[in-house]
């Protein structure tokens, strides 16, 4: 049985179908939440923001033109909401230099041991990237967005998407090197 396409759900939502809204929310809210959470780094704020994202969908469904995938549209709205929230609290946003230099206060002997594990170190360094770099890494690797889709979500040219991804990975390599992992690239 084929699931109802997102585009069809959006059409129903535009007509005020509450059930269609529930289906769309169930299908996408976790990924949207994780995308927002990685940007704002606060669970409560992220939860508030996804409510706002889907409320925008409810209000604007009639204007959705189907030029992109619904998931791409959702992430674009979510990104706008997250950046607006960050602008409201600029002091709390960390740049990559600061974040990378912060020691994890929960470092227990077990944690320290875990950090010897390469995978855990890579994940720590992924967390230490700037918001801009975290965003593009997540969109490409986790949200499986193409170059064109990332360009739509972030609002930058496709070539800039490629170069930004390159610099995000380069920064990641630098953070890994600081943690003792030399990748030989770039």
């Amino acid at each position: 049985m084929q699931a109802t396409a997102d585009e069809v759900l959006i059409g129903r939502i535009a007509s005020g179908d509450r059930l269609a809204m529930q289906v769309l929310f169930a299908r996408h809210h976790v990924r949207v939440y994780r995308f927002v959470l990685r940007l704002v780094r606060d669970e409560s704020t992220a939860e508030d923001l996804i409510s706002e994202v889907f409320l925008d969908v409810w209000r604007q469904a009639g204007r959705f033109e189907g030029r992109s995938a619904v998931s791409t549209w959702l992430l674009a709205i979510a990104r706008f909401k997250a950046l607006s929230a960050l602008r409201r609290r600029p002091d709390e946003e960390l740049d990559d230099e600061t974040a990378a230099g912060i020691e994890d206060p929960s470092d227990s002997p077990e944690t320290a041991l875990e950090k010897k594990d390469k995978s855990a170190i890579i994940r720590k360094c992924l967390t230490g990237l700037s918001a801009e770099h975290r965003e593009i890494i997540d969109l490409v690797y986790y949200h499986e967005k193409s170059v064109e889709e990332v360009a739509l979500i972030v609002g930058i040219p496709e070539n800039t998407v490629k170069t930004r991804m390159f610099y995000a990975r380069k920064r990641l390599a630098e953070l890994l090197k600081a943690e003792g992992i030399e990748r030989g690239w770039p």
């Binding site: 396409a5 059409g11 005020g16 959470l37 939860e47 996804i50 994940r123 490409v140 193409s146 990975r169």
Partner: protein
Amino acid sequence: MNTINKERDDLETLLPWHAAGTLNRRDAERVEKALASDRELLRRFNLAREELNETIHLNETLGAPSARAMEKLFAAIDAEPVRKPKVSFDLAGRIAEFITSFSPRTLAVAGAVGALAIVLQAGVITTGLIKHEAGTEVASRQVDVPPTLGLASAESDGTLAAIRFTPKAEVGQITTFLLANKASMIDGPMTGGIYTIRLPESGKAKEDHIKLMQAQSTIVDFIATKQ
């Protein structure tokens, strides 16, 4: 040499998307071809795959929002003004929903049957034309058609066209295409995935419009005037 380096740099920037499987076929083939002969590029591709794995792992450990998010959303929706149902009959939307209800296999079979039907139809038309040129048969065929089914409705059906969409055309694209061309869905899908649409023009203007629609080959597989 510079050209070779530029090509390699270009391919290298595509590695993250290749690891995620989101490159178009052409670029994916370019990258695959290069990976087969370039060990250093392959090593860097494996670095991208490593990043991909850990990014997924990291995101999957972020958990999910509590029920509060959903409760807040639907409380806000309940507080919104009640929407009046659309008065207009959204044929494009309904047909979009109808299309998506088919499985890919059903659509493929429908497409194959449609292709066969077109071949048969082409044969019938060609035969008719040959006979017409020979000055025979056409008049007697018209006589055979009951007036209520044929000639009487021909004038009112002057704006109709038969259309089949490409298998790759997405529902959203079809809907946008119909709206952009001010076309409304009248009937279908018939055998072979053929739909009947109504166009705003008739006569020569309709013929010209159909040619323009046919040019949109990413969406339109087949379109012809329907009498």
